[in-house]
Symmetry: D2
Subunit: 411 residues, 4 copies
């Protein structure tokens, strides 16, 4: 029975939600799989804690938080409009939605062509402890949970809970990231948002009285994007990591002989399909272990990038007005092609704090008016419309460069 | 000596700022005048606590808070760029800036043509305990303090501290009102705002890095206006009060014979200049005492409006698209001119959460860019520009009416 | 039907509990009676806001808070173990438990021999708007609600909700007073206390795992007693008030001719039974109005005490080791018997933050151990036992005196 | 010049203290050493985040917090009573006081006979980046900072700041641990404690008015000990770790052939003096990497303990009344000596939330009375005396055992 209750309800303390309650045995069993425990060793915000030191929280606590918010939305908003089976599917999907994330996913996926959503699906459906737990309760459960995470489930309400613009995922990470970063601007009124939600035609829409709470939420997202998620120093850290992994790949492909073993990375360096067992062996500890070894390698680029990454010798950034301006600058001050590739990067920050669809669907933020019409938030709130329009003009193009070029570039 | 220190520093607990420290004897002496203590009997938000019950804070605690923020800005931002004498002037002005407020000022001033700024000046400069305290320390102090409150002081920095768009007054009431109302949207990052302030050419401007904190502050003001200060039920309460006072005046002028004495109101009913002694006798207690007596009066309008006010039988509101539509509605459902005047009101909500001046002055919110140029916030932040533009379109025109007409108007 | 639902659920914002939800029409009707609205004009902590200025909250918001906590305990702890009828009785009792309080109850009751619990019962059962509302829903409701407030109801669980050592009343006022005073020490973990509660043999007991949360709660009470409730300056204010009312009574009995009318006090000055209509006319506004008039009276004592009260010229205090020492001091420095009576008071502070009963009842704080035995908190926690024992030794005996005697007493 | 100011003051956001300000270049240089950055990879609470998942904070953020509190105490309490040189010494000592901590220090030190205080001293004084930074500013600085950390510095005030019962270290970790664990009971009134401090005869003592704030602090410590620091599941995790390291050592000494290299542990397995370079290579990442490899080892004990540690298969616990009872139980249910050693542990919890010295020194908590006498807190507060006495009786003796023995032990 998928909704088997625990012998005794578990209550987990959390610095964001206070108490997280576990009623169902299946949730407890899933939490205790090695795959879930692995998420403790992956920071929620990757390298952002190099800028906001107290942002040390992991994908594990975030996953518990998403489970908790799915639970609250079901209990407080959806109530009877969902079957018990689908409720369990939603709770599992909330808990497992990030299970396929690897260490520093962004950079890692970019270099090694992995995809965390695809890995999540595979970890849930192929041979894993997660899969075993799900199968123990019901043979269709794994495919149902995976379908929610991959947006293919027939019940759109379940998908909306986990991935839409005001879903359990975004609501948890916004609060969690803001609180742990120690910033004041990412907070919004969770209780009021929840109270504004109603189910209409099997999607969650917001009562008109909740528009201000949504404006507040959009504003919180706006701020978190520009001040945390797109923070220049965090970007710099990400760029170094990307180049470092890229260098490892290049060297491996050129048969470079590494001083220390890099066994756990080998499967990713070969152009083969990764098996999930190998994938799950990776976490941030392993990468850091390798990077620290790389500091003693012969290859200057690998050595230097590893040193930069481990010891926070971060790339600096310069505002530029066009990509061409950036390229010209690089060409002017450096000849060596390898250095051009590895010590410079042009990056444009893009935020996605609100998306206008022009139609009502499970991804759009929808308002139900007093006379029962449904419209998108940007149509109901000229504030949101204004913020969205104002953000369109906001482009931040920057040239990131190795610190050694600071004096040259500041001339 | 105006800056005589207290024998022992006083620390006052406050639910907003934690600890408010009193170092100077003059501040302590001023706090203990009957004029300041009177502010304890005047709600900061007038009748708003009829809508947000826990908004029970007074102009007294707000005044302490303004004093505290003036003190912080001087100590943390202005530092040496102000003389000790002017510092004391600023602290006194912060503490006393609302000293001329009467009970339910808005409605009261509207009906009786009093003006709290003018009264503040008179209380400070004419014969009062406040004036005695100020004179005890320095014979020019009273006129200096009054000049700050009336915006005529030669040192514009002092004026800016007490009355500009990001001054100690607004910062305190925004936080205090939001916290006491129990709403989540009026909060902003006080610490960060303070840290962004610098003095430039003797006015306070904000560092470019503080733009996000200012956006947050403007957004908080925007929300407080639309959700608290312009709340329909609070407006309704204000309208009843206004009409009630107006009725008293009309009856008095028509030689109506009141059952109970209304002695303390008499000076206001005669068209003479009020002396400050009479003015200071009034507080909310007195008005409520009178209103409760009025419930037993003969005059139906006076009786009914008093009952509505005391027992929260509030006017309802209806959206209308033009004043003419409102007038037509009134004319359609009621014949009696007196009832038209006293049981109906057409009101348009206007917020003033940000004001664009088009020039740099001590009232505009000014940003100093990295290359040392000064520009107004709306020019530095396209978000603020967008919010301001969006608010221009926002007009809320409403017809407020006595509950008895509910069924007629809902037909 | 007593449990008639509202057409639309009302949500009231509160600075302590966030949102207070009103589902039942009867609760909304009760809130809107003049008797309940009167509580807005009575401070929860009497004159304590003269010491902690931001403690400006009223018995009205506290009453809403108690209603809210009764609601939460029923929904989250008691659940099905109470009938719907008794649930409504409990909610009404929570909301109305303080309805009989007058302005500055302590002093008032002491001088005029009124009793707020008795008045509550009468307001609920005799001819009042409250009574009308209750009767409209059910003819036995008033007597049931009164029985809960007077501890005579047959269902002990209902009584325990409103008046025991960890009841909705104490939990609300502890949090509300601490938050509004701006102190840090009165807070406790409400969520954890609620989660520790279980119903056993129709009384609420606490799981053993909740002992630490209870220790925390007792500690919070301990601190609030010694630092807020028994604060010397608050005591001083109370003493002045007491003497002031006593003087009014004495003068009245001696046929003193008051300059201004004191009509609303007359019923209390005659030694007759008060009718509730007269009782309900009083609030703090009225008393302050009278006291301000008294400042202009002939009688020196009345005049002076009124001035002290209104303008915060508070009595000072001196530690003394015995009542005799205090009496000797008074006799040494003053001859006039009237002054002895009205300008001096000897007071011993007593706190009652935990009471040990030596048996299990609905008043004692009861722990249910893992092996299902029930014992009192002081037996289950040697920390609480220790605190209680330590407090026994704590005696604070003080002589309070009019400021004019300061120099004499400090010699 | 040791007190060289930074070109631009750095402000670091922190989820506990809000803003941490860095004024001195030397502090910024120290923060950016690899030795300090290494602390990011060591959890402040070791394995406690296995019980309180959100307790994911590191020794790095704690070290910043201690620096911050030392800075506040100097600026707000000590002020002019310390030389600028000693101020820098104190700030450095605050920042570096945990620099010698290794991963999971408790267990690690127990097994490998290392000592983090000794390692701190060596890292500061021997050849390290930390030492280079300190020497760059002043040749005596390293020895001075080390002397503070090792309690041998001649200025006792400096030692007291970093290690006494109410020092910057304890105050930071109490707030930080409580907040990150998401518990409500470890909080105390930091602002009030700071305001109570005064310097007297070159030690910090507390004003009598601060006794309640200290009682609150002691109570917070008491709760954190019994509910977090001595939490059974955290103990269990620690025990497994201890046994796991012990097994590695035993196997190594018996020339067991490990499948994967354990290079970085070798220096600790040989009974030689560790050089600091080897010591600093270790962090939690490395140990976890090794433990994950150990899951594939031949040796059953090593394999199993590693599995338990990595996958949260924790030891269970049983209350026992004496060590002998525990030993008897073990002997009764298991024969194999190795299993007896590695799958069982008898542990007695001891808290040390307050220490009474019976004399005034820089370690005791000292109260200065109004008549200028100094006495220990337990003498000034009968509440603290009571708590201390009550805790003496509190003994928790437990038998921890591998989960496989659960059914046998529950018979």
């Amino acid at each position: 029975m998928v909704d088997e209750l625990m012998f005794e309800t578990k209550v987990i303390r959390d610095n964001i939600h206070g108490n997280i309650t576990i009623n169902y045995q299946i949730i407890w069993d899933l939490i205790n799989t090695p795959e879930m425990q692995r998420l403790r060793r992956i920071h929620q915000l990757g390298g952002t804690f190099m800028v906001f030191p107290s942002a040390e929280h992991s994908r594990f606590t975030h996953s518990l938080g998403v489970y908790h918010l799915v639970n609250r939305i079901i209990n407080e908003v959806i109530k009877e409009e969902i079957s018990n089976y689908d409720k369990i599917v939603a709770l599992c999907a909330g808990l497992l939605h990030d299970i396929g994330h690897g260490p520093y996913s962004h950079a890692f996926e970019d270099v090694f062509n992995t995809d965390h959503e695809n890995m999540s699906q595979r970890i849930i459906c192929e041979d894993s402890n997660i899969n075993k737990v799900l199968n123990k309760y019901d043979s269709h459960l794994a495919s149902n949970v995976a379908a929610v995470i991959n947006h293919t489930h027939s019940n759109k309400l379940l998908i909306q809970l986990i991935s839409s613009q005001v879903d359990a995922d975004r609501m948890d990470y916004l609060l969690r990231d803001a609180t742990n970063c120690g910033v004041s601007y990412g907070h919004f009124d969770l209780e009021r948002l929840l109270r504004s939600m109603v189910v209409k035609d099997n999607i969650i829409v917001f009562k008109e009285s909740g528009v201000h709470a949504l404006e507040d939420y959009i504003f919180a997202r706006y701020h978190m994007y520009w001040q945390v998620y797109l923070h220049q120093t965090a970007n710099s850290y990400e760029i170094i990591l990307n180049k470092l992994l890229r260098r490892v790949k290049e060297l491996y492909e050129n048969n470079y002989s590494f001083k220390h073993d890099i066994n756990l990375l080998i499967p990713f360096l070969k152009n083969e399909i990764i098996n999930i067992e190998d994938y799950l062996l990776l976490d941030e500890s392993i990468l850091i272990y390798y990077f620290k070894n790389f500091i003693n390698e012969e290859d200057y680029i690998l050595k230097e990038l590893s040193y930069c990454f481990i010891n926070r010798k971060l790339f600096k950034a310069l505002d530029i007005s066009s990509e061409q301006e950036g390229l010209n600058l690089i060409n002017k001050i450096v000849d060596d092609t390898i250095k051009k590739n590895y010590f410079f990067e042009i990056l444009q920050a893009k935020s996605s704090f609100y998306k206008y669809y022009g139609e009502i669907n499970s991804q759009s933020i929808n308002i139900i008016t007093k006379d029962n019409k449904i419209e998108e938030l940007a149509n109901a709130s000229n504030l949101v419309e204004a913020i969205v329009n104002s953000a369109k003009d906001k482009i931040e193009l920057k040239l990131y460069y190795h610190q050694d070029y600071r004096s040259v570039l500041n001339e």
